[in-house]
Amino acid sequence: MSNVLGETEIEVPIETFPIHKEKDASSLASKLPPHRIVLILIGLALVASAALFMRWDWLPQYGGLILQGLWRTIWILVVTVVLGFLLAVPLGLAQASGPAFLAIPARAFCTVIRGTPLLVQLWLLYYGLGSLFPQYPWIRGSELWPYLRQAWPYAVLALTLSYAGYEGEVMRGAFAGVPKGQLESARAFGMPRFTIFRRIWLPQAIHRALPTLAGEAVLQLKSTPLVATITVVDLYSVASRVRQDTFLTYEPLLLLAAGYLVITGIIVMLFRRVERLIPSKLG
């Protein structure tokens, strides 16, 4: 599950003085041998023929809707990743070093989430909980009811729980992987337990989990179109609506795939940038 797009990349050491400047030109040439130029040209020709010979006249009409869907997709992605991560930290901690009465439920939660399809979880929450709630008058009367009648809270809840389940497992490994000596020396300094967690344990665990987190964020992006099945209008559901309205088979889907590719690229780039912020030494 871990490294989506995780092409192994050799870390280039930062040079204080640019000694190897002449190498850059040759590396460009080695990246673009003749066959790759031909492949790129074929790719460009495919894109150009798609742009020229396929029908794109629906684009201006649905432009606003597409942007709205894009915004909804990104919003759901960011919210669920952040909330899911916040939930994953206690889940991982409980499994890594918690007492049994916390560790066992945390492990059970992660197993159930990871063992069932997200679509079933989503439908269980939306149709299952959604059909139970109206039977209780106190829920109908509460101030939350206007939100509980909409679809997006269920989508956010399901995706958050799913991300927390997968990420809790990752954080368990990350917490367990922090060298014992680090925690012992922090204790020897007389740090209180929460300070140890905040200053030593959590930052090192996050650093360890960061490459996996990037992969999981891409996986989370790839699960967002499922929310379209419970009537949340995201990028995917806009594309299906265009398909229904215009009877076009390929164009909306190709645009959709391209959109997800771009978002994936942005996520990978952002995480790479965050990873570079943290100084690391390969031992």
Binding site: Y127, G128, G130, P225, L226
Partner: protein, 250 residues
Amino acid sequence: MADASIIPAGITGMFDLLSPVAPGWGANLLRGLVRSLQIAFGAFGMGLIIGTFGSYAKLYGGPIARDLAAIYTTLVRAIPELVMIILLYYAGTDLINRILEGMGYQRVDISGLVAGIVVLGFVQGAYATEVLRGAIKAIPQGEIEAARAYGMSPVLMMRRITLPAMLPHALPGLANLWLISTKDTALLAVVGFSELTLETRQAAGTTKAYMTFYLAAGALYLFVTLFSSVILESVEKRARRGMPSVKEAR
């Protein structure tokens, strides 16, 4: 007042709904489960075949094969499975029929089972390519060089050296892929293939007992996952026999 009709009266009502004989919907769920498992098996197998070719193309292929394999794995792993399924399921069948018509043949109805296996197998293939590539690279390369020095043909070398030697390295990743494959079958419900999730949805929609059926479906998926992880663990233990334990090495 609505309680009695909407919530099945307690546990007995739940079991009545889930019983495998006529008034219950258990038989439908089990039929869906069997279909899901068929697709999962087929897709996993097809993914293994694609993955073997893909990893060989990435490791030993010429420059063009290498780049094409890289494009395949990057694209498939970046585009959501649901979009891939819709794209290949509708557009793929449409494309095949257009080609057939263009060549003067009749349109064919592609069965949901075959289409599901091909679509999910195509997605699985990309992940399997990466898993197998990593596993082949984890073999001590001297073994492959020695096989080449003995003059083994590539096929013989693959059968006798590469595949057996990479198996222990590939099994954890492949186990993960199998679990993903069983769960991804649920996505075929969106294109109307009646596997476990769609059967559940129909049963739940008809009886209005949403909680009961979705919980039952979740339990079935969970059972498949847990059961296969037990089996996969013992397979991995057998494949790793005689090798130093990973845990002790850390």
